[in-house]
Symmetry: none
Subunit: 402 residues, 2 copies
């Protein structure tokens, strides 16, 4: 891909619209009994229609063999080199919880955990604490934890997860995780990874100590673990690079968080795919780029539930006609990575992709499956190249060079 | 490929095993009479079985149009960018002769040559000197050449070739070639290419002067030419990057040398493919990564002997079942470059590759040939991406990013 500085000179705002539909974790592997993948096993009337009318291929989120997390998977789909534009865990979590993170703030992802009498971790997730108790504990800490010159805020997430936000002068995110990511060990002391982080590390150690005494008599959550100290990334936005007015429609906070980093407006997406499609229809006139995220394909893949992932594909397929009715100038359907039910986790396998647009140079592929997309006109493509391709097909990119 | 620093954070040691089988120079071109390549002409029962059970593609050792030498071809297969991780000529030659090169040593490739009365080169190879005379000359020089503070060692190779090894304190490899690579000129003086190389250049000039008088009355070898001054490369090892315990099984010194540079243990490989397979079986429990090198396909290709290269493929095919019996978790079969018999040299053509593993997402390819692999699920891949792909398929790589 050409550098953003060059892209800026080529991009122009036009009335044409790009819709990116992300079926999270869509790529799969064959079921041992049928030899068919999840996509191959599903009824895909509408997906196949797009394949027939468009150009298909296989997308590599990062590079061969690399299994991406959700943040790099999506950054690539938004046109950002996922190795260059990385996120700390803390910021991903904070953005996902809609927490305001200022330019000087440092955030970390926290777990409530259980330690035994000698301080060794016995459960890194405190039995996947009830979310209500998590709220209660965060309230308690917000009421009592005090550090000189630093404002420490605790924001509850789901189950055992929370975000610690530090606000103050001269903070640094170069602080090591206190989470050893293993049970049977003591939490690690917060250590500065650079000289400029000494005072931040000291503040974190003070926070940890205070929380430890506050929680001492609680069960099962009697300690906390912190990881991924990070700042808000200051990355160029889609508006800036591509002159787009972009919007995000996602029911899960994490994806909204990543979209916010690249400057998308976050639309209230509701709870279901139906809600998301309604949001898209309602806001269709107001934006020229939409990212619509469908979580279930990934979630069912991570559950290792092949049949349920097939059903999720079919749910998406059923929702597609309402999107096609909008007649987007450029429609892309793909995933941020593969999540084969047989592996029950994100994987390194390339992801089927299709792009439909008036001038897309159709190929012979007439099915949206891993096998069929292999023979597609896009070939094997870097995920981050899809964004310029979308822009080109929307006739939003001028000629490069004289 | 993501940088090694990132890879280090993803790699984990597991009991799974990777076996890389390199059929040197395996890619070919059609025979003018049959229209079939060497691979297409061979009986390939076992190779085709692996193709059927795995995922296939075409591998580019360096980049389109670039014909690789053996060192870059193998570095790419080991996952190293062959443009970034280069070898000097001297070190390649030294490794090929199994010469011990210490961290402070400097080596150069030498030619015995013929000069006329006025010192102009009349034959850069001294009539491709008999190897026995080469040995005799090296003995002579080892007995007489003396430089203060530097130990100069001469190691005979084949015909007119030898290696000069300098051992001492403060040596530098920034010394210009004395070989003008042209006849009718005088050998060039050994010139320092950097200030820190002045004393090394002086030592080289002294060596050259002494050799010149030692050889003055000899015919046809009455002078020497030196090129490719280099040190042992200090590259990150496969242990370091991938947490592997790797072993090399190769009958030719050159390949052992390259494997040593990336930190492989060198197993005694014997003389034949049979010996190599026995070595693999004997050591199978002790390592989690094996590189097994088969030379004949390249050697017969370089001979321009199409039928003999076909036979070499069949010899390899016959040896394959014994390797398959070990049931490696990940098996890769490919070459380091193409050596079409019709060209009788290394070539730029991409190389067929196949990978077999439990979760490899099989394609429809059922033959290990250039034509069939073109349609494979790996697509056209950079050779250096095969290593992360092997790691992923061995489930030895964690997720990248949150």
């Amino acid at each position: 891909m050409i550098p953003f500085e060059e892209m800026r000179n080529l991009a122009q705002a036009t009335p044409s619209r790009i819709v990116l539909l992300v079926m999270d974790g869509i790529g799969g592997l064959p079921h041992p009994e049928t030899g068919k993948t999840e996509l191959e096993s599903a009824h895909r009337r509408n997906l196949d229609r797009v394949a027939r009318e468009g150009i298909c291929g296989m997308s590599h989120p990062v590079s061969p063999g690399i299994t991406p997390g959700s943040a790099p998977g999506h950054m690539a789909l938004f046109g950002y080199d996922p190795v260059k534009y990385q996120f700390g865990r803390g910021i991903v979590e904070a953005l996902g919880l809609d927490i305001e993170v200022g330019p000087g703030d440092v955030v970390a992802r926290g777990n409530f955990c259980t330690v035994d009498a000698s301080g060794n971790i016995t459960d890194r997730r405190a039995g996947r604490l009830a979310t209500a108790i998590n709220h209660e504990l965060c309230d308690l800490m917000n009421a009592h934890v005090r550090v000189a010159g630093v404002q420490a805020g605790f924001f509850p997430g789901k189950e055992h997860r929370f975000v610690l936000r530090l606000r103050g002068k001269g903070l640094s995110d170069r602080v090591a995780d206190t989470d050893p990511q293993r049970e049977g060990m003591q939490p690690l002391p917060a250590k500065a990874l650079a000289a400029e982080a000494e005072s931040t590390a000291k503040a974190v150690r003070s926070v940890v100590k205070q929380v430890q005494s506050l929680l001492a008599d609680r069960k099962p959550a009697n300690m906390l673990l912190l990881r991924g100290f990070s700042r808000h990334p200051d990355y160029p936005s889609l508006r800036d690079i591509y002159r787009l007015t972009p919007a995000c429609i996602a029911t899960y906070p994490m994806y909204r968080g990543v979209a916010r980093v690249v400057g998308m407006d976050i639309l209230p997406a509701g709870e279901t795919l139906q809600d998301e499609v309604e949001t898209l229809k309602r806001n269709y006139k107001s934006y020229d780029y939409f990212f619509l995220h469908f979580k279930k394909t990934d979630a069912r893949g991570e559950d290792g539930d092949f049949a349920a992932k097939v059903k999720a594909v079919e749910e998406f397929d059923a929702a597609l006609p309402a999107i096609l009715e909008l007649e987007p100038d450029v429609l892309i359907v793909t995933g941020d990575h593969s999540t084969p039910a047989g592996l029950a986790m994100h994987s390194w396998h390339p992801v089927p992709v299709m792009l439909r647009a008036k001038h897309c140079r159709r190929d012979d592929v007439d099915e949206f499956t891993e096998r069929a997309c292999l023979r597609g006109g896009l070939g094997q493509i870097q995920a981050m190249d899809l964004m310029p391709l979308a822009m080109a097909n929307a006739l939003k990119l001028n000629k490069f060079g004289a």
